[in-house]
């Protein structure tokens, strides 16, 4: 529950709460009546903590560049208009496209910060328009949620943060402490409650989370899925009474792979994997925590699905930490309502359809697809579509490309419910009024849907049935393991695998976090991680500039020497737009989500005079 004056941090799905204090006695903030941020020790899973991102949450509301007036951009010229005119412009455009091309020519992209009510209003709007194309616009979360859905795993969920405190065996997949720093308190409580407690961290590089791993499970770059497949095979082999219904299918599928073969594919030692699986199975209380922040592995969907299956197989509780505050809630709602890829396009398909011209209008609510997606697909889509509408609270690259920009409210300025990682609804209450003429997305969505006919949901029979078993998922895993062997064999000399690592800036916020004062101060620029040997071979030292080229683009980055990096691997933070441009755009056909595949890059040392 949220009381007035209490707000929620929008920067990941942990759902941390903070309070708004008015009037400060601080010698530095001497003005009475000025709202200041205060820590909320009672409510919320954070128990008073806030990470570097959360501490600037208030700045979102009071930011000097907040969008306050609706904008309409015609022939490259933007003009400020009133709400009536902006909404009429959008309604006219939508009506024209619907008459000419049908409702299917219009697609809706929902940002991860919309409330459940706003997502429901988007569903009503889509029904009124007659389009099946509505989906969540957040690439990493989309991949993770699709993977868990595809695997059809049903592990018990971590329902309260106190359950993590009491755990005696934890497996963490992904850079949890960079994505959700406030998870450090419960995870380290569990780790330090008793020195024998296990905190296994699966990671190819030394991330902030892997640093705390006992044991730190080092797998090969890009081989998290193979490592989890190994652990799943070991867990199923160990048998026991609690093998889930899909266990037989999985055992059969994985029997094609010997343990030695999986060890070779993953680079994870069998003994270490066996010890971790045994500790997770031994209980009495174990957990698998997954963060949608993987150091840029290919097939995040497989990693997420396998983590969920493993949790179910060992009887551990499962928690998926996502990038967006309400990504899980929005996607659950869309799936329940028959959207999000069942009949219509998923977000990656929608962007492709916009580029080919099959989709003519993109309505983007609270998201910045150009900043969030790798490559140029989203900017092409925004350019090609004949009507683009973006609701945003700060200027961003998508808003700059849109025909209509509608100023929106942020958390703390709007009411509603969201469902964070722990699955229980959190009630939001407005603590402040939105600036200028900004409105909550709910009001905007309802105004757009006002004149449209009421249409009922498609009958349940029309929707494709959800797979009950993990069979399709396991077949896909088999293909992946085969392909991985081939990829490793086909490594080109002179190129390096770019592993995109986590940074604390937020994809969904994209251009936004760059505008917040602390984010700029704490994460001034993206650095390219090089191993010591590699840096010596190139003749560069920490701080030197290097030109990074992939097949898709090039960028200049400053070097950070990281002795812990495996051979043939370089890292760069994938939230950075320049790094995103180096990554490959690839849609994974089976789950219809984005495959953020690490790419091969070549490096070139920049001479002194090239430095800008």
């Amino acid at each position: 529950m949220t009381s007035p004056g209490r707000s929620i941090c929008p920067f990941c799905s942990m759902g941390c709460t903070w309070r708004l204090a008015r009037g400060s006695s601080s010698p530095y903030l001497g003005e009475p009546g000025v709202a200041t941020l205060d820590y909320d020790a009672e409510g919320g899973p954070n128990r008073g903590s806030l990470c570097a991102k959360g501490n600037v949450a208030l700045e979102l509301m009071t930011h000097p560049r907040r969008l306050e007036e609706p904008l309409v951009r015609e022939a490259g010229r933007a003009r400020t208009v009133g709400w009536d005119e902006a909404l009429a412009y959008v309604a006219r455009g939508l009506e024209g496209l619907r008459a000419a091309h049908g409702g299917g020519a219009i697609g809706l992209l929902l940002g991860p910060h919309l409330t459940d009510e706003e997502a429901a209003a988007a569903v009503r709007l889509a029904r009124g328009i007659g389009t099946p194309h509505v989906d969540l616009c957040e690439p990493e979360d989309h991949a993770v949620l699709s993977g868990i859905e595809f695997a059809a795993a049903r592990p018990a969920r971590v329902e309260r943060v106190e359950q993590i405190d009491a755990m005696n065996a934890l497996l963490v997949v992904g850079d949890l402490l960079t994505l959700a720093p406030c998870m450090a308190k419960p995870v380290l409580n569990a780790r330090y409650r008793d020195r024998r407690h296990l905190l296994a961290v699966l990671s190819p590089t030394r991330t902030r989370t892997a640093w705390f791993g006992r044991p730190a499970l080092r797998c090969d770059p890009n081989a998290e899925a193979a490592a989890l497949a190994l652990m799943l095979a070991l867990a199923l082999d160990a048998g026991g009474s609690a093998v889930p219904a899909w266990g037989e299918d999985a055992r059969r599928a994985l029997s094609a792979w010997t343990v030695t073969e999986l060890e070779r594919r993953s680079g994870l030692a069998v003994e270490r994997a066996t010890a971790v699986v045994a500790a997770l199975r031994a209980g009495p209380s174990a957990g698998v925590l997954l963060a949608s922040e993987f150091g840029g592995t290919a097939r995040m969907d497989l990693v997420a699905g396998l983590a969920a299956l493993l949790a179910e197989a060992v009887g551990a509780r499962f928690l998926a930490l996502l990038e967006g505050a309400n990504s899980g809630g929005i996607r659950d709602l869309l799936l329940a309502e028959g959207f999000a890829g069942s009949a219509g396009h998923t977000t990656p398909e929608l962007l492709e359809a916009a580029v080919t011209g099959d989709v003519k209008a993109l309505l983007v609510f609270g998201a910045d697809p150009v900043a969030a997606f790798p490559g140029t697909i989203a900017s092409q889509a925004m350019r090609t579509a004949s009507l683009t509408v973006v609701t945003a609270h700060l200027p961003g690259v998508s808003a700059e490309a849109a025909h209509v920009v509608l100023p929106a409210a942020v958390f703390g300025e709007k009411a509603g419910t969201i469902r964070g990682a722990f699955g229980s609804p959190v009630l939001l209450a407005p603590a402040m009024a939105p600036p200028g003429r900004a409105r909550p997305d709910l009001t905007i969505l309802e105004a757009l849907g006002a004149g449209l006919p009421e249409r009922s949901a498609p009958a349940a029979a029309d929707r494709p049935a959800r797979t009950g078993a993990a069979r399709g998922f396991l077949a896909e895993l088999d293909l992946f393991l085969h392909a991985q062997g081939r990829e490793a064999a086909a490594r080109e000399p002179g190129t390096h695998l770019l592993l995109a690592e986590a940074s604390a800036t937020n994809a969904a916020e994209g251009s936004l976090t760059g505008q917040l004062s602390w984010a700029r101060y704490a994460y001034p620029e993206p650095l390219l991680g090089l191993s010591t040997a590699h840096a010596a071979a190139l003749g560069v030292r920490a701080g030197d500039r290097v030109r990074v080229r992939s097949n898709w683009g090039q960028t200049d980055l400053r070097v950070r020497v990281d002795a812990g990096l495996p051979e043939g691997v370089v890292t760069a933070p994938h939230r950075d737009p320049a790094v995103r441009a180096l990554l490959r755009w690839r849609r994974e056909p089976t789950v219809r989500s984005l495959d953020l595949r690490p790419d091969r890059v070549s490096l070139e040392r920049l001479a002194e005079d090239d430095r800008a």
């Binding site: 010698p27 954070n46 501490n55 600037v56 402490l177 720093p181 409580n189 030394r206 902030r208 004062s517």
Partner: protein
């Protein structure tokens, strides 16, 4: 200098090195809470780990002794504070500080100095960096001589191998 026994607040910030994840939330809280002036900066330990470096509020502060303008003083609570009006930003205190916790702040041309969030502490609260700490590494504890075995904060540092991260 006020009589130490008369100090109203004898608590200080303590860092448990085993728990610090280097998330920099403490610095962010300090930055936001002090109107964009950062009094606490994350320090890098030999380029391998990031830890908050905070003012110890010494009983006999070297910074105050070094200040040519008398801008640094010990208040009634025993907190070492800096008068913004008197400070000219000569950074003598930065040089004098044995712990290197007074950073350069170019924005305001004065040297920022931790005030232990006196506004919160006198109201019964805890400093912002401690309140915000995501891992429970920072605590605000009473200064007292323990009757039992000495508490060795950060004693597990070798087991957690801060050195190993190199």
């Amino acid at each position: 200098m006020p009589d130490p026994s008369a100090r109203a607040v004898t608590r200080r910030i303590v860092l448990d090195l085993d728990r610090c994840t280097g998330c920099r939330a403490c610095g962010a809280a300090c930055h936001v809470g002090h109107n964009d002036q950062t009094n606490l900066v994350p320090g890098a330990v030999a380029d391998v780990a990031v830890l908050p470096v905070h003012c110890r509020h010494c009983e006999q502060p070297a910074c105050a002794a070094a200040c040519p303008r008398g801008a640094l003083y010990q208040d009634a609570f025993g907190f070492v504070r800096r008068s913004e009006l008197l400070c000219v930003g000569c950074h003598t205190c930065s040089i004098a500080c044995p712990f290197g916790v007074i950073p350069d702040e170019l924005k305001r041309h004065v040297a920022p100095k931790c005030d232990l969030c006196v506004d919160r502490v006198v109201a019964g609260g805890i400093p912002r960096c401690v309140a915000t700490c995501t891992s429970g590494a920072l605590s605000f504890v009473e200064l007292q001589v323990s009757a039992g075995a000495p508490e060795y904060v950060g004693g597990r540092i070798q087991s957690r191998a801060i050195v190993r991260r190199a």
